[in-house]
Amino acid sequence: MIALIPLFPLLGFVINASLGRRLPKAISGGVAMAVMVASFAVSVMSVWDLAALPAAERTIEQTVYTWIASGDFILDLTLRLDPLAAVMILVVTGVGALIHIYSTAYMHDEVDSEFARYFSYLNLFAAFMLVLVLGANFLVLFVGWEGVGLCSYLLIGFWFRKKAAADAGKKAFVVNRIGDYAFVLGMLLLLVRFGTLDFQRLASIVAAIPPENGVFGALSIATLLLFIGATGKSAQIPLYTWLPDAMEGPTPVSALIHAATMVTAGVYMIGRNAVLFGHAPETMLIVAIVGALTALMAGTIGLVQNDIKRVLAYSTVSQLGLMFVAMGMGAFGAGIFHLYTHAFFKALLFLGSGAVIHALHGEQDIRNMGGLKRYLPVTYWTFLIGSLAIAGVPGLAGFFSKDEILYETFRAGHWILWTMAAITSFLTATYMFRLVFLTFHGERRRDPGSGIRDPGSDLMPQMSRHSGSPIPDPGSRVPSHDVHDHAAHDSHLHDAPPAMALALIVLAVGSAVAGYVGVPHALGGHNALAEWLAPSFQPPTTVASAPVAGGLQASGEEALAENAGLELTLMTVSSAIAIVGIAVAAFVWLRRRELADALAARFAGAYRLLLNKYYVDELYDATVVEPIRLGSQEGLWRGIDVGVIDGAVNGTAALVGAGSGALRRLQTGSVRAYAGSMFIGVVVILGYYLWR
């Protein structure tokens, strides 16, 4: 049954990949959408079945077949649906389906074969993502983990003629590989240490041993390695640099992969192994700190970016950071909750930005936008809702989840982290509304104006996606994404076409109401989501026993009593933060535009630092990439391989040759010399016998 969930998209992939190049757009797109919807339906049904079960044994397991069997290592390809997975598959299939629908309109200008290729990739991604979340053991998860990485590589580089896109794709894959390296090591360590890769078995084994408080034992090492893998997948320090570049991909891709689903895999993975991480407090602290740092850093960068998608990308990074803070605090429920809500509004925001770009024919620089509110009403209002949600304005989805994270952090006593998180949410509100105001409000701006160009980005407005292809070939019929003269168009900018509008509206509704599944007790809710998820964060069959560190004490009645007050206070604080952030944004970018430039000029150094993303990419290039490349080329290849090793080989040959050349000279041709050598031989032999 649940095997069908990933199988449907896979089917779609097979169809589109094999004969898609001959199908008209309608069919290939239709197939892609159909399989996603089907998969969504199946997911809903299976979650329904799951919900029917009593909370204690809420798992549906299906072993497809034995994948690897080698000696005492036997690994089944098992899928397991549990509350956590349930949330994830709903998000993946639901949001995924919407984005497929959206894409049919967004990608409509591609030629048939490219169109089909796009959707085949998208389906494949969905399939792998579902395998990732449904996998019952690390290796199956890893299959999905790598698979989604591959799809993101393919989709980022979808417009392969554009060097920037291709580079970004490769960068994404390689950076992820670095994470995967650690991830694999972590897996192996767990496997060798505990003898299994199955999440439930691991959980029950680990639950039996005491947490590694203060010691950094095998479990801590393993979890840390896994977390490094997560930083790769979920774009955390130090491996976050690929995500902003990944914006080279088509916008729906950014929405689905780089906002809603794939990038959250790291968070999901930690949630999935809540017990393991719970038993490695040292690692947990590291997770939280890294998350907080990432959140803050990304937020600051997002404040000054001028590319609409990049702003969103950095906001994604920072939101992911918040999720990791929650995970690090042991507030797994909160983390997953934020993941869930984030999926809605971040997807919404990206799709919205996509609508804007679509309308502006590829324009992405917010300095060249403005005043779009009256041209693109649907886009505007949905975008606004999304921004409010992410800013954490009370009543909307983001409010509840982010607030719960802040609360858990504070309650765990890490007030420094709390402060960082709070600042982050303030920044979030600010840069999001900077985006909103610059894009939709004010008056229409044509030319880039006097703003500082963003040197780090390949997304100069005037660069067309298909630039650099000197010769026409079937794939490169120039679509209307290219930059045309705005003057020609901005009179009749068309709003999102129905397919896109539908996706936007649905997601907007989601962003508005999704939070209500997790209304905290303090507000009289009963935090349904947390309760639903609870079993997933505890060793199997021990639901009744002591909850995992920080698991969800909020659910205990007595805990509730003393915490309600605190929670409410924090809520007001955080709402205030959001409001203030929006206000600041409004003040600076709506009332007094010049102030922004003044600030930029005033703190030019800081501004440039932020604009160039703290020069991290440059740092990596200078310290890692170039040394390795040069070292390999000049040192290893030219030096050692050709010079030393092969030199030794050929040197031996040369030596023999030289010896030959020298020895043959003994053959002088003079017969007396020959007799001489014989005579010497005689004398020597006799000498040997007589003087021996």
């Binding site: 002088t668 007396r672 010399a673 001489g676 005579f679 010497i680 004398v683 006799l686 007589l690």
Partner: protein, 178 residues
């Protein structure tokens, strides 16, 4: 004692003439000196109760072989050594090589002498053993030659045949083959 004296004289002559043979630039003289050395050797043979060998030595060697040499020397009216110009320029002309060869020869002599002196039984006078009275009788010698050594004898005939053929093949004038 006379025979000791005779021995030393003869061997002295043999050695001296042989040394002169190779110390001689003119091949003609060399051949003649060699004949003399052979004569001395023949004397030693007689002293060793091998008259027949001595005779053979004189007749075959000094008589036949050396005459053959003489013929060739005259036929080619062999020039004195290093007459030709290239000879002076030849790397092997400098005497170092010759000295080296002489040195080796000296070493060889020393080795052999040392081996002989350190060997047992060679200081015993010759013919100290029994049966010395029959030694030298030609009949007995012939009998042995054609009984024990008959195969070697036949083989030698083949050898000489081969040498003949070879000499003919090699020395025949150009053009008149077969």
């Amino acid at each position: 004692m006379p025979e000791t004296l005779v021995f030393y004289v003869l061997s002295g002559v043999a050695i001296a003439t042989s040394a002169l043979v190779i110390g001689q630039r003119n091949p003609m003289y060399s051949v003649l000196l060699l004949v003399a050395s052979f004569g001395a050797l023949a004397g030693l043979y007689i002293q060793l109760d091998a008259p027949f060998v001595a005779v053979a030595q004189i007749i075959i060697y000094a008589g036949a072989v050396m005459v053959l040499f003489l013929f060739v020397v005259m036929l080619l009216n062999a020039p004195r050594e290093d007459a030709a110009e290239w000879d002076r320029t030849h790397p092997l002309r400098q005497p170092a090589f010759a000295r080296f060869g002489g040195l080796l020869a000296l070493v060889l002599v020393l080795q052999l002498a040392w081996a002989l002196l350190s060997a047992t039984g060679v200081d015993a006078p010759v013919a100290s053993r029994a049966g010395s009275e029959v030694v030298g009788s030609v009949r007995a010698l012939g009998r042995t030659l054609f009984t024990d050594y008959v195969f070697a004898f036949e083989a030698t005939s083949i050898l000489i045949l081969v040498a003949m053929v070879g000499a003919v093949v090699l020395a025949r004038r150009e053009g008149d083959q077969s």
